[in-house]
Amino acid sequence: MLMIAISLYVTSVQAAEVSPGLGQSIDSEEVSSVDISIDPRGENLPAGSGTAVSGATVYADKCAACHGTDANGGDGLADSLVGGIGTLATEKPVKTVISYWPYATTLFDYTRRAMPLDAPMTLTDEEVYAVSAYLLFLGGVIEETHELNAQSLREVQMPNRDGFQSVWPDM
C-alpha cells in the first residue's frame, strides 16, 4: 500500500511538468517596487540615512508605547529589543535584537515591513535607518552619532554574529 501511494504521487508530479506559460514578463522597475527583502549583503538597501539622534524621536513616537521607553519590552508583552548580551549560555538566556540577532540588515528589513504593528509599512526609509541606529546605539553596538545608510548598515557587526550554525546540509 505504501509503495503504491508513493509511486502514484511521483507519477502525478512528473505528469504535471508541462507549463501553459501564462506568466507575464515584468521589468526591473516593477520588481524593485515590491522587492523589499534585505539580505546580510545589503545590496538591496534603499537610499537614505539616519542616526540615533533622530531615531530617538521616531522610537518615542512609534515604538515606545509597546516596547517601552527603554526598549525592554514595555509591560512585558512586546519583545525586548536591547540588553541580554552575554546571557545566551547562562541559566537565564535573554534573546533580544542586540543579544541574539546575527545581522543588522534583518533589523532594517523587519522594521520596514512589519512595524509599527498597527501601521506596518508607514515608516519612511529615513525613519527606518534612524530608528535602527537608535536601537543599535541603545544596545551599545554603535555610537550615538554614527550614521546608518546603505553602506554602513551592512558593516555593522552584531554581538552574536557568529553564534549560529545551520543544520540544513546544503548551504
Binding site: G23, Q24, K92, M171
Partner: protein, 427 residues
C-alpha cells in the same frame, strides 16, 4: 466472550495493553447482541424518537456541524493580548477529532499580524531574482496550471511549547493545546517547480525568499532543492479554496517542513544564492543550545506522536475497555511504527496504524487497553522510515537551552488517576 472478560484476552504489554484483535472480537459480540435486541422493539411510532416522526430539515448550500457538536472549536492563544489580537495562534481541538484529516474550519491558525482580506482579482504572485525573466501570475492564471494533490500535515515549530523548556512544570491543558498547532489536509495546487522552470531559474540558485501579503510581510528562506522537489503553491484545501486563515488565495506547501515556511498569502518568490536571514528564521524559529549557540534552518519537523484519547480535557468514564488512540507523524518521511505503554514506559505494545501510510502525513494509531482502575501512565513513541525515534522529554530538554520552546517532538505522557482524572505528566 463475556463483556469485561479482559483477563481471558491476550495481553500485549504491561498494565492491561491488549492484543489488537481484542476489540474486534468484543465488538462482534456486542453488535450481535444489539441486533437481537432491536428485533424485539415496538414497530409503532410510540417508541420512536421525534426525529423519525416529522420530516427533517431541507437542503442547504454549505453544510454545518450538528448543533450537538458545538464544543469542537479552535481555542485562541493571543500572547500579545489586545495590543496585537491578530498575532498568535488558534489550536486544532485534537480531543474532539478522529481519523487523520482536519476539517477546514478547525485547521490551526498561526498569524503574525492578522488574517488579510485579499481580493484574488488584485493579488499577484511575482517570481524574480536569479531567473532568466521575472514573471507575475494572477490567481486566474494559476487556476489554469497543472495541479497535484497530496495529504500532509503542517506543524508550527512551537507545537509542544507547553511541555518545552519554556515552562517549569507540565501544563494541565487539553491535548489540542499541547499538540494542536498541527493539522492535516489534502492540499491541491501547482508544483512550484513549474513556475521556476518557466521563469528560467539559473543553475547556481540555492535558496528562495518567499513572502506573504499579510501585515507582517511574513518572509522565509527556502532551499531550492526543496522547492524543486515537492513544494506546491496550494490553492485548495480538502477540495475547496484554501481558507483565508490558511493563506487564501494561495500559500506555499512544503511537506514535512516547519509550518512557518509554508508562507501564506504568497505574493513573491525571489530566487537567491543564499538565505536572506529573515527575522523569523533567525530570531524566532532557531534553536538555542545550552552552549549559547543556536541552530538555524531546522526545517524538517521531527518524528512525533501524541495520544489524543484518553486525554485532557476529558476524564475516564470508569474502569474497563478503552481504545488508546492518537496521531503520529514525521517531517522526514513515513511513520513505520508507534508503540504505546501503559506502565510509564516499562513495557511497550505496537499500535495498529491506519492505512494509507504516506510520507509527511500523519497516521492514526490505536491499541486496545483494559484499565483496571489503578494509577497508570500512558505514553506513545513513534518511529519513521529514516531511522528516527521519538525521544523522552528529559532527553529533548537537555539538548536545548533554558526557555527554548521550538521543535519539541518528545514523548508526552498522560497520567491516569484512580478517580479517572487525567493529567499531563513528565515522567
Amino acid at each position: 466472550m463475556e463483556p469485561g472478560s479482559a483477563n481471558r484476552i491476550e495481553h500485549a504489554a504491561g498494565n492491561g495493553l491488549l492484543n489488537r484483535r481484542a476489540f474486534v472480537q468484543k465488538s462482534i459480540v456486542w453488535l450481535s447482541a444489539t441486533a437481537a435486541g432491536s428485533s424485539m422493539a415496538a414497530t409503532t411510532g410510540d417508541s420512536a424518537p421525534d426525529w423519525m416522526k416529522t420530516p427533517g430539515a431541507p437542503f442547504r448550500g454549505y453544510g454545518q456541524p450538528s448543533p450537538y457538536t458545538e464544543s469542537a472549536q479552535r481555542k485562541h492563544l493571543q500572547p500579545y493580548g489586545e495590543m496585537a489580537p491578530g498575532s498568535g495562534a488558534s489550536v486544532t481541538p485534537l480531543q474532539d477529532l478522529h481519523g487523520v484529516i482536519t476539517p477546514n474550519g478547525l485547521h490551526f491558525e498561526r498569524s503574525h499580524n492578522g488574517v488579510p482580506a485579499i481580493d484574488p482579482e488584485e493579488h499577484e504572485l511575482i517570481v524574480h531574482g536569479m531567473v532568466g525573466q521575472a514573471l507575475k501570475f494572477s490567481y486566474n492564471d494559476l487556476l489554469r496550471y497543472p495541479t497535484v494533490t497530496r495529504t500532509c500535515f503542517i506543524e508550527c515549530s512551537g507545537n509542544g511549547l507547553f511541555n518545552s523548556n519554556l515552562v517549569s512544570q507540565p501544563m494541565q491543558l487539553p491535548v489540542g493545546h499541547l499538540h494542536g498547532v498541527m493539522s492535516t489536509a489534502e492540499w491541491t495546487g501547482v508544483p512550484l517547480s513549474i513556475l521556476l522552470d518557466e521563469a528560467g531559474m539559473v543553475t547556481n540558485a540555492k535558496w528562495l525568499l518567499a513572502e506573504g501579503a499579510d501585515a507582517a510581510g511574513m518572509s522565509r528562506s527556502i532551499p531550492v532543492s526543496k522547492a524543486m522537489d515537492d513544494t506546491m503553491i496550494a490553492l485548495f484545501q480538502n477540495g475547496e479554496p484554501i481558507r483565508p486563515e490558511q493563506g487564501y488565495p494561495m500559500r506555499l506547501l512544503l511537506p514535512g517542513f516547519e509550518g512557518n515556511t509554508h508562507v501564506k498569502w504568497l505574493r513573491r518568490i525571489k530566487v537567491t544564492d543564499a538565505p536572506t536571514y529573515t527575522k523569523d528564521e533567525t530570531s524566532k524559529y532557531s534553536d538555542l543550545l545550552p552552549d549559547g549557540t543556536a541552530n538555524l534552518f531546522s526545517l524538517k519537523m521531527g518524528v512525533k506522536s501524541a495520544i489524543t484519547r484518553p486525554a485532557l480535557p476529558y476524564k475516564m468514564a470508569g474502569k474497563g475497555f478503552y481504545e488508546v488512540s492518537g496521531l503520529a507523524w514525521s517531517g522526514h518521511g513515513s511513520v513505520t511504527r508507534v508503540e504505546v505503554s501503559a506502565d510509564t514506559g516499562r513495557s511497550w505494545s505496537d499500535a495498529e496504524l491506519s492505512a494509507p501510510i504516506l510520507p509527511m502525513s500523519p497516521v492514526r494509531f490505536r491499541v486496545p487497553w483494559h484499565w483496571d482502575g489503578s494509577p497508570s501512565v500512558l505514553m506513545s513513541r513513534a518511529h519513521d522510515d529514516q531511522g528516527n525515534i521519538q525521544m523522552p522529554r528529559s532527553e529533548w530538554s537537555a539538548k536545548y537551552a533554558v526557555g527554548h520552546l521550538y521543535h519539541n517532538n518528545s514523548i508526552q505522557a498522560w497520567g491516569i488517576a484512580t478517580d479517572g482524572e487525567i493529567s499531563n505528566v513528565w515522567s
